[in-house]
Structure formats: C-alpha cells, structure tokens
Symmetry: C2
Subunit: 231 residues, 2 copies
Amino acid sequence: MQGAKSVQELLTSDFETVTVIGTAPALASLKSKSSVELIETGEKELGSLSEFQTNDSVLAVARIKSAKAFHPRLDEFVLVLDDIRDPGNLGTIIRTADWYGINHIVASPETADFYNPKVISATMGSFTRTTVYYVDLLPVLSQTNQKVYGAYLEGKNIHQERFSDGGLVLIGNESHGISPQYEKFVTDKITIPRFGHAESLNAAIATAIICDNLRRGDEVRGERDEVRGTR
Amino acid sequence: MQGAKSVQELLTSDFETVTVIGTAPALASLKSKSSVELIETGEKELGSLSEFQTNDSVLAVARIKSAKAFHPRLDEFVLVLDDIRDPGNLGTIIRTADWYGINHIVASPETADFYNPKVISATMGSFTRTTVYYVDLLPVLSQTNQKVYGAYLEGKNIHQERFSDGGLVLIGNESHGISPQYEKFVTDKITIPRFGHAESLNAAIATAIICDNLRRGDEVRGERDEVRGTR
C-alpha cells in the first residue's frame, strides 16, 4: 500500500495497519494510530522498497483480511465479476463501484487478486470500503432470488431500463464477455447503446456506465415518490 | 500495431499500411491490399519483435499520419483533453469516444502520444477512426462559439443536464483535474453525482459517463422531435 492518500485511507479504515514507512514530512502529515509502527526513511531507500516508480513518499504494510462469506442484502446492488483478469480494470471497477455506493463485489476465482499491488493502486483508496468475495459464481447466480442484470448486444437499451432497488450485475470477461453457462441465470439482458463504431467497451468502462444508469433510477424513483407524497 | 483484430482494422482504414508480419494462418485470415508487403514468420521470431507479451500472431507497420488542423463542426461533440498523461487512459478514452460517435479529440501537447503502443493497444482498433489534434488548448477554448462543458464538483447534476447538439467537453488531468486557467472558458459546469465515498473517478471512466449522458440527450431530443412530428 503506498501513496499518502491511500495510506491515510488505510489508517482510517478497518484494516489492521502494521507499519508505515515514509519520509519525515510524509509521516508528519498522516493521522496515525498508536498501534502502528512508524519508520522514517529517505526517499532513495523508499524508492527501492516500492513496487511503482512514483514520487510517493510513504508506504504502509497492513494485514490481509480473512475471507468473508457472501450474504447479500436484497436492497443493494452487487457486482458479479466473471473473470476480470486485468488488475487495472479490477481496481478501477472497485473505485467506480465505491463512487456509486456499491461495496460488495463477488468475483470468480479467476478474477485478478484483490491484493495485487496494481489493483490496490488503481482503487485510489476505495479498497478500504469494498469487500470482494472470491467464490464460484454458479451457486451465487443459480440460488439468488434477485434480478440478475447482464450486458449483451441484444439486451434492452439501458437508457430505457427501469432498474429494481437491488440485484446482481454480472460483468463479463474483457475478451469473452459473460460465460455462456451463466446466460440462463440472467433475468434482465441490458445493452449500452452505441452511437459510433467501436466494437466493444472496456470492462471497467461498461461497469461504470451501468452503475450510472442504475443509480439514475434511484433519483427517478425518489422523484416519483415525492410526486406521490410518500417521502 | 499488433493483434489480428487491430491489424484488420488498420488495413481497412485510411492509414497507409506498409508491412504486415505474421504467422502463416494469421496472414491467411487477413483481408489485405496489394500494396502491403506481407512477411511470414514463426511465433518465436514474432514474439521478439513485439512490444507486448501476448499470444497475438500478427503485427503491422503503418505510416504515421501528418498532423491536421482542427476545424470542428458546430453540430458535433469534441473531447478536449487537458493533460491526460496515462497512455492506457488515452487509449480507453479514444475507444469510448468511438463507441459514442465522437471522432475528433483535441489534446494538450502534454497529453500522452497517440502513437504510443500502449495507447494504440488500448483503443482496440478505434485509433483508425479517431483524429487527435495536439494543440495549445487556450486558443481553442477562448475562440470557440460553442458550449464548453467541464466536470467540477459543484456543477449541475449530469443526470438533469440538457446537453446541446454539440460542443467541447473538457476533460481534466488524472491528478489535478481541469487547469485553473481554463475554468473561465467553461460555459457549463457539470457534475457526475456520487452515491458512495470514492473521492474521484478515473479520467477515462468520467469521460465515458459524460459521453453516455450526452448521447442520452440525443435520444430524448429524437423522441421530442417525433412527438412534434418533425421526423
């Protein structure tokens, strides 16, 4: 974990931070806890410890959380990642989900590892607020009572879709899309309308556009409720 | 340029392809032109030529296009990139813009280079349909008669914005957002509403969400026109 912003997010999260290593000014700028070991070092030494070439001046060591069982609430949206292999994509998906208030993500075992440094870095701190459950997707999809949304070429235009209050949003692999064996569990096929010529969208981009359209539904439902005087 | 899909896109574009190097089956699968030199090679030799570690079996050499002057049409949306430094972000922005029918992009000189292999790769072929004009942004923004949209924290909710039929969409740098000196040229400040806790969105993600909301306006306008019987 590195970078002042990410380290600060880590320190205020429920992760157990063990050690923070940084330059004197970087350490002074952090709000730390008494249980955390602080180690002051020079920029050069720090550079040799770090995974990335950046001008970051601090890094942290935290304990990996033990895996939790997945128990979704019925009134929330959960992303279900079908083999998102690229760490940058996974990190960006976690960051975007956090922006849209989605904090639980189910991922197939083949999905990039949550603790891959490229994933953590791309989340820009959102990893502290997001739980990714690595499980076999088949029981999750086959046993849910909720809607399962999935993006297909021949789905309903996402701009016209009325999303429910919660459900599973299945995101396909970067190259192959949603695995054929999951298609029968998709209750609502949706499509991001295309206005130009690109053949497809990047997986993280598609996820973001779906999230934006999901949440727009919340605003519309809020307005409808207001009109009816129920809020 | 490498990868069967990208090379095929290149061959059918207005780029001048000089040479295609690939395995025998890969070359056989391409629709090429008589002017292109085809060189058959083994996979191992190809791997040593290639920038990336992939299982792609073909690569192409094409001429870089000479820079064109930027003359926007009034009825189109143009992205204006204020120092997008990350090649992956630029490539993804080009791919996404192509999906949304936006084919002209103005970029500050500090933006990542269009011909960077990581940019070309991330466009997934969309580079063949997109022109990026590297120019000083100040005259572009100060001399336009069109609307200039820019994402700020205190802008109008993009879900409620009625976009015009065209205009410039200013996209800020990954770390610093839109440069302060351009703020006075932004006629319409917009905001992507946040429902969770992430501090910001990735630049390519934000661009995609803006594009999706821009084009949704087209559909709404289309419906309005239909109701009025003008189409």
